[in-house]
Amino acid sequence: MKVITRVVKAFGMFWWNFLVGDTPELFVSVVALLALTALFRAGHARVLMVALPLVILAVLAASVFRAIRRR
């Protein structure tokens, strides 16, 4: 039982470090962005095709400059 708990904990920690780690802003932004896209996709596919990559670049820029400010 202890082994299973340890394996599950290690598995959870791996994914936490892998997806969140020291950049929680990227994780939260991507999840929020996809939720918004799911909400507004109907009838806006063309706009989303252009907006999605631009918003993702903006998220990347915000994360980069957050890191720079913290140095």
């Binding site: 892998f18 950049t23 990227l26 990347l60």
Partner: protein, 249 residues
């Protein structure tokens, strides 16, 4: 048209898996060479062998299971993971290129590993060398496995992605053996940036597909996305380079 789409999609997939595998395997090889030089090659090779077996089992176990998930759900999940993972790579690459983060230094990793291993005694069966080599290959290889599983399963080209990863690992090993300790001359940051751009492009594309967006030009949209992200990344590096350290302006 169909042939063109398959070629575009497959080419981007092959390039992404090749570069991601090459970058991670260079890092793993640096550790293995340091272990081998310091503690002897037998235990180092045993560690490498077990790590490769474990990684192969992961691909063999999870790969077919992933292929059973409905394609739109799979693409949304995989796309999200690739987006986050790719953005993390790109962020690091931008910070390194603009001087806000130290570049990955294989010589320093080699020296650190050698120093740590040299301090310990050297028994007949060297568990320290075994564990260090195993961890180095397994942890670096895990990122390759995730890239292969996510890219390969979503594109329904798991076999192609796996073979590219295996071939790249062999290539890096052969080149690594030939150049031994000149691994630091590999343009790692540029490769990481390219992988980051490709992962984010795939992530955007598959998240869109998973949410029901049909991209203009089908798979060819991947090339447009990659171009957009390359330009965006390049602009961010230029802007970051002109900012003073501490970010005060």
């Amino acid at each position: 048209m169909i042939l063109g789409s398959i070629t575009t999609s497959s080419s981007v997939l092959v390039l992404a898996v090749f570069l991601a595998t090459a970058v991670e395997m260079v890092e793993a090889l640096t550790i293995v060479v340091a272990v081998g030089h310091t503690r002897g090659w037998r235990s180092a090779f045993e560690g490498v062998g077990l790590a490769l077996l474990a990684l192969t089992a992961l691909v063999g176990g999870f790969g077919p299971a992933l292929l059973r998930i409905p394609i739109n759900n799979l693409r949304l999940i995989v796309g999200s993971v690739l987006l986050i993972f790719g953005l993390q790579w790109l962020r690091k690459a931008i910070l390194r290129s603009s001087g806000f983060k130290a570049k990955h230094d294989e010589d320093a990793i080699f020296a650190e590993t050698v120093a740590a291993l040299s301090q310990a005694g050297k028994p007949q069966r060297d568990s320290l060398a075994f564990v260090t080599a195993f961890k180095g290959v397994f942890l670096e290889g895990l990122e390759v496995v995730i890239t292969v599983l996510t890219l390969g399963s979503s594109a329904h080209q798991l076999a192609l992605a796996s073979w590219v990863a295996v071939a790249t690992t062999l290539l890096v090993t052969i080149v690594g053996v030939l150049v031994a300790r000149q691994l630091s001359s590999v343009p790692e940051n540029a490769m990481k940036m390219t992988v980051g751009v490709l992962l984010v492009s795939y992530g955007t594309f598959w998240c869109g597909e998973g949410l029901g967006i049909r991209w203009l030009g089908a798979d060819a949209a991947l090339v447009v996305l990659a171009g957009t992200y390359f330009v965006g990344t390049w602009m961010l590096i230029l802007i970051a380079k002109n900012r003073p350290i501490g970010g005060a302006q």
